[in-house]
């Protein structure tokens, strides 16, 4: 009981995750700045931002529905943190494991997007509503390739349990190489989930102010910002667990360092992609996801089925 609470609230749960995700945000912003030939923010910048937002006044528009408006950020925050508890971090075993947990993690990662939609919709501002509708439209485009990419790896391992996926790949060390196309697909789809450039259409600052977040201020906005950061770390951890499942049997310390390196590597790829690309239009984004990503994901699934039939038999 006490151990469970410690794991959920302190390590590797809430406290560790918040600090690590703020660090990941710093890494992302600094890299973005360096790639643009700037100096970039100092290391404490994300912490200062969050602390300042927590201490600010929070305004609730009088036309908004106060209960939904306040609950949406909390739902998003909780769902993102809960998803982290099911992912194998530096060893094969996870904190809480059951059959089908990879699907649960994927659905838990969908809840923040739904909460953004609800929060934006109930704030009744025009910009927030347009942003919400766009984030829903985008959800239907990137969610399918993301699921297909991640589940293709699970298909090869013949299980929908993250722990057994890790077990399978440590029994067959080099099999993760087959999943590299799936990794690219999932990485691009993750950009859409995190609403980063080139898929930052829902919060396009130059068109619709700040999308669903337009009316949020103070603490509530701090929670939304934290949710996005945590989603980035959890998404990266999920990709690391599914696509780079090596080095999980080392001693805990080395494994932990390797785990951090894997996440930093994925965050690096995300920042790189967001630096070199510009924002797409919503129709271009949907075209791209359905015309190119989904067929590619099908090819990945066929490849994995072939591998399963030919090599594993």
């Amino acid at each position: 009981m006490f151990k469970d609470l410690f794991q959920i609230l302190i390590f590797p749960g809430l406290t560790f995750l918040v600090i690590f995700s703020l660090f990941a945000e710093y890494f992302d912003r600094k890299l973005y700045a360096r790639l643009q030939n700037r100096v970039g923010p100092p290391w404490f910048q994300p912490f200062a931002d969050i602390l300042k937002l927590l201490a600010k006044e929070e305004l609730i528009p009088c036309e908004a529905n106060p209960r939904m408006f306040k609950l949406a950020p909390l739902f998003a925050f909780t769902a993102a943190i809960t998803a982290f508890l099911y992912i194998p971090l530096w060893q094969i075993k996870t904190l809480f494991s059951f059959n089908g947990d990879v699907l649960v993690v994927l659905y838990l990662l969908t809840i923040p997007t739904l909460s953004f939609f609800i929060g934006g919709w109930y704030s009744t501002s025009l910009f927030a509503r347009i942003g919400s509708v766009r984030s829903m439209t985008q959800l239907f485009a990137y969610e399918v390739p993301l699921f297909m990419g991640i589940l293709s790896s699970a298909l090869l391992a013949n299980t929908w349990n993250l722990k057994e996926i890790a077990l399978f790949y440590s029994a067959h060390p080099w099999f993760w190489l087959f999943n590299l196309p799936g990794f690219c697909i999932a990485l691009i789809a993750l950009l859409g989930k995190l609403e980063k450039v080139p898929f930052d259409i829902p919060e396009a600052e130059t068109e619709i102010v700040a999308g669903s977040f337009t009316e949020y201020s103070g603490k509530l906005f701090a929670f939304l910002k934290l949710t996005l950061d945590i989603e980035m770390v959890v998404g990266a951890a999920l990709l690391a667990a599914v696509f780079f499942p090596f080095g999980l049997q080392m001693n805990p310390f080395a494994g932990f360092v390797l785990f951090l390196l894997k996440i930093i590597f994925i965050v690096f790829l995300l920042s790189l992609l967001r630096t070199v690309m510009a924002r797409l239009r919503i129709d271009q984004m949907i075209d791209f996801c359905w015309k190119y990503l989904v067929p590619l994901a099908f090819v990945q699934i066929l490849l994995n089925l072939a591998v399963k039939g030919v090599i594993l038999k």
Binding site: R38, P42, K56, E58, T214
Partner: protein, 148 residues
């Protein structure tokens, strides 16, 4: 002063998010403000970020004299910002009305309508002057917090 207040003040000084609003400028001051935010001067070093909505902003950066038509909008945007908030007037027009003073459609400087914390003169104010002004504002906040 408790540790929490100290930490919060530190965070406020380290992370000023700005909102840029043209209250009737001839556009030269706006161009200079935009130039200040480009990678050349890199204001993100000081934690400054340009925000699109008054709800997220701490500092309202205004340029130009207040015209009669924009007055209500300016007050509305100011009221939409959450406390604590500051206003910076960039350019001679924003400080006093400048060359547009006494025009039939102009109400003089920003502080005729909303309280202003910092005036940055210049026609237009150069990016360096704007950065210097912002740093001075942050310093004065630090000093006034230290005195408390």
């Amino acid at each position: 002063m408790g540790v929490v207040t100290k930490a919060v003040n530190w965070a406020r000084i380290k992370s000023p998010w700005i909102l840029h609003f043209n209250t009737g400028a001839c556009n030269a001051c706006d161009i200079e403000i935009i130039a200040t935010l480009t990678p050349r001067y890199d204001l993100e070093r000081f934690g400054v970020q340009l925000k699109g909505t008054p709800r997220h902003a701490d500092v309202l950066v205004c340029s130009g004299p207040v015209t009669r038509q924009i007055k209500d909008r300016l007050v509305r945007i100011y009221e939409q910002m959450p406390e604590p908030k500051f206003v910076v007037a960039v350019g001679t027009c924003a400080c006093s009305g400048g060359v547009f003073q006494d025009c039939y459609n102009v109400m003089s400087g920003i502080n005729a309508v909303i309280p202003v914390s910092l005036f940055i003169p210049g026609c237009p104010a150069s990016p360096k002057a704007i950065i210097d002004g912002v740093v001075k504002l942050l310093q004065s906040l630090e000093e006034s917090e230290a005195k408390k």
